[in-house]
Amino acid sequence: MTRFLAITRTEMLILRRNRWLLVATLIMVLFALALTFAGSAPTGTLGVDMLTVSVASMTTLSVYLAPLLALMIAFDAIAGDVDRGSLSLLLSYPAGRGEILLGKFTAHLAALAFAMTVGFGTAGAVAAWFGGAGPESLMALARLILTSILLGAVFLALGYLLSAMAKGATAAAGLSAGLWLVFVVLYDLGLLGAVVMDKGGSFTQSVFPWVMVANPADAFRLWNIAATEGVAMASGMTGAAQALPVWAAPASLLIWPVLGFALARAAFRRVEP
């Protein structure tokens, strides 16, 4: 039972050793701080505290950064071992493929959680210090951190899926970049195009919110926005959030990691080292 923990420990060691953890945490801190200071201007006009505005900016940042950081670790997880020729050796040991994947996932998720907590936490603390914070905005910050970790988990799992399907780590990296582009950029552009074409018809009214929330990146955004009035005002994105039941976005963001992991597990089963 503890075999996956042995994998986890080794993966953590690798993430620390190759400076991934340091670099990822640094990126998170720098971006979060920059956004907090740059985005602090509208505080007065909206009548909310600085932390609320900061969380709204960081939500937008996390949509891009959490999937990117997750994919950056995940693409190598299986394909890298295949390339090095060490996967066949690893698989000749009693640990099953599920255990190996779970061990890596645990380590990678812990590293992401660390980077997210430190990054958003620092920026949040700075915002609260300079601009004040209330219980509501602190909740929003906690929610942002937790949902960012969930979003990272989704893309870790999807990254493993690509890593298992790709022929080699380079191909996996390419596929991951494509995946990121589709989920984070193109999906929204497509939806926007569809809404414009529809001109407020039945698609926009009933189908569009559901299609939107099916994308984990959008579900993440909706969850954070719908939950806090202040954040919704600050980000100016309330329409779609109001059209959906409260549980839709959390459900999407909770189902995706499980679904992604199951898919990755199934793809890994078919890998012949």
Binding site: T2, R3, A6, I7, R9, T10, L13, I14, R17, N18, R84, G85, S86, S88, L89, L90, L91, S92, Y93, P94, A95, E272, P273
Partner: protein, 297 residues
Amino acid sequence: MTDKALSITQVIKDRGKTRVLDDITLSLAPGQRVALLGHNGAGKSTLIKSILGLIPIEGGAIRIGDATPGSAQARRETAYLPEAVSFHPALTGREQLTLFAKLSGSKADVPGLLERVGLSDALDRRIGTYSKGMRQRLGLAQVLLGQPKVALLDEPTSGLDPISRQDLYAIIDELAAQGTAVLIASHALTEVEARTDRIAIMRKGQMVADDTLNNLSALAGLPIRLKVRASANPDALAAELGGNRINGASVELLCTPEDKMEALRRIAGLGDAVADVEMTPPKLEDLYRHYAQEDLQ
């Protein structure tokens, strides 16, 4: 119940339309060292991976003791050294071996094992700084974890210098002495010749030979090579003995083991015309060529 450490019976494996393993049968008793020879693509690595349960087979059966490939018991009881093994460059030798020890569930003396393969100096250095031979040694150290019933070594000598090779075979002998059946896929014929109990040769997915070296020689009926050096006139000698002229002063004769004495008597009868005679029995290399390329001739 079986007394074999490893038994492979009529195994068939297809890759697309080609049959990469065709009716392979092979068994290893505990403590036996068997060399698995064959040209590239003959199916050696495929066979090893099917023994490990890493790839499915289409027909036949493989048993490690009583366990099926890939089962928890089989994984515990097999050790494997992949061809040109490589590890994560960011880990140290100690960390990598500790991981393997934890995965195998054995209480291992990690520094001791690394010393056994001559890596005690590089214990806490990153694997990224290791040479190919050092990585191979690290791979060998993990083979020694626990007491495997079967050890599968895929090209274990590749990248090793001659002294390391001696060490490697000493370790293989140790494994065999503790009762591990060792299957060595190799190209290094001369080493295998002296260091294994049996030789199995694969060609295009088929097992074309599986016996001791002596029996294989007898079975193949390969000729003994006699090199006769003339003292004065090699052409006359060649005409007399009916062999081929080689390198200026010598004549080469091929004869069967039964005719050997007769040929030697004839050469001795020539008296002063012969300066020297050299006799070469068939080597593993000739045998290998005979079995591995039968259809080409």
